[in-house]
Symmetry: D2
Subunit: 129 residues, 4 copies
Amino acid sequence: MTNHTDVSQTAPLIDVAPLSSALEKFAADRDWAQFHSPKNLVMALTGEVGELTEIFQWMTEAQSRAAGTNPDTAQAVKEELADVQLYLVRLASVLGVDLNEAVQHKLQKNAEKYPADKAKGSSKKYTEL
Amino acid sequence: MTNHTDVSQTAPLIDVAPLSSALEKFAADRDWAQFHSPKNLVMALTGEVGELTEIFQWMTEAQSRAAGTNPDTAQAVKEELADVQLYLVRLASVLGVDLNEAVQHKLQKNAEKYPADKAKGSSKKYTEL
Amino acid sequence: MTNHTDVSQTAPLIDVAPLSSALEKFAADRDWAQFHSPKNLVMALTGEVGELTEIFQWMTEAQSRAAGTNPDTAQAVKEELADVQLYLVRLASVLGVDLNEAVQHKLQKNAEKYPADKAKGSSKKYTEL
Amino acid sequence: MTNHTDVSQTAPLIDVAPLSSALEKFAADRDWAQFHSPKNLVMALTGEVGELTEIFQWMTEAQSRAAGTNPDTAQAVKEELADVQLYLVRLASVLGVDLNEAVQHKLQKNAEKYPADKAKGSSKKYTEL
């Protein structure tokens, strides 16, 4: 029997409220809400993940771990991570999704799916083949 | 002359510290840090954005705005948004990027790039053609 | 009882052999095969699909159908479609996958999965929720 | 002075005409053309590239090069490559883009951009930082 933690009582894992408000104001000031359908925002998110991917595509894994040591690369990485975060929060906002609650539930679900003792050192669980 | 706000003094827009710690512990408990190179995590992020995209691909924009009204769709959307957020925070963590600082700088940059009075009601600035 | 067509006997649906050879020579001439692991090429493919997505992200569906009427947009679309095709063929090549055979089997599978009379006018089958 | 080859005279690098026709008939038989706006098809393409990415995300580069040796992985890879090819050809079709011409021009452009003697053994040209 799984004893689900009451998520509503636990401390927040993430707080995006100020950013969500700032983005809502940013869009309202420019009359951009009309363009911010979830469909469009998902595409914008894809575009930014694509730009992030282009930074790492020819790197080895070892090089990717050291990406922060090159100032130009580090700056580019920061900007793309920010872009992904901005669109993700905006998307959750227009969809009315509470990101913290969503994250809490997902983390709990993952903990039940991958018990530490069984998943240890294996990436097998990832490959859904 | 642009008078840059001292970002370090402003209130945080986003706080992901508890989630970042939780994910670090989650990975350590399963000996998964070895798989979490930035290169791999960017790919995992791509996979999740792909799953999010599949929810919306055949919807009209109007349907996408009403996605929350169908309980099954709403649940799927929540899970995928959570997955994207989890990998994004984990990625920033292994890269040593402060997401709040990155977001603050990007938002400021966007405000300077798209002055409210000039960008009003136009999506032109987006198309980099 | 499903009577599978012998794919090996049917006329090809797609022929990418000359392009595959051209790309192999292109990479060999530049000593780039070392960078062309499937992992890296999948990421390059992601990057190009991201660029393609950026062209369409703020368009309505109707505007996307008319994308060819603007010469600049048409040119950008052509280049991104080409980039996706180039990386896809290169990826199939290094993985030793016969794209024509793969496409034939998939099309046959789809025909069995979505009988014309039952799938008529519905996009429901797409949403895997 | 660059002496551009007359692309229209050269042998085709790729022939997708039979697949393009097959997909048009497939969509017509199911009354699906209404869903096949370029915007929607680009999203469908993203979804498939996401599924392809999930196969490779936790592999090392060396493991990705050997992906064909595991029958289950090889089968999954084939199906995803086919899906990407199907949507790409369908997308080019609804946009009225001649994929062979697009690919010919792009390959020529790349040859001019990366002269073999200068690009030899370097992945530098890729990183657009």
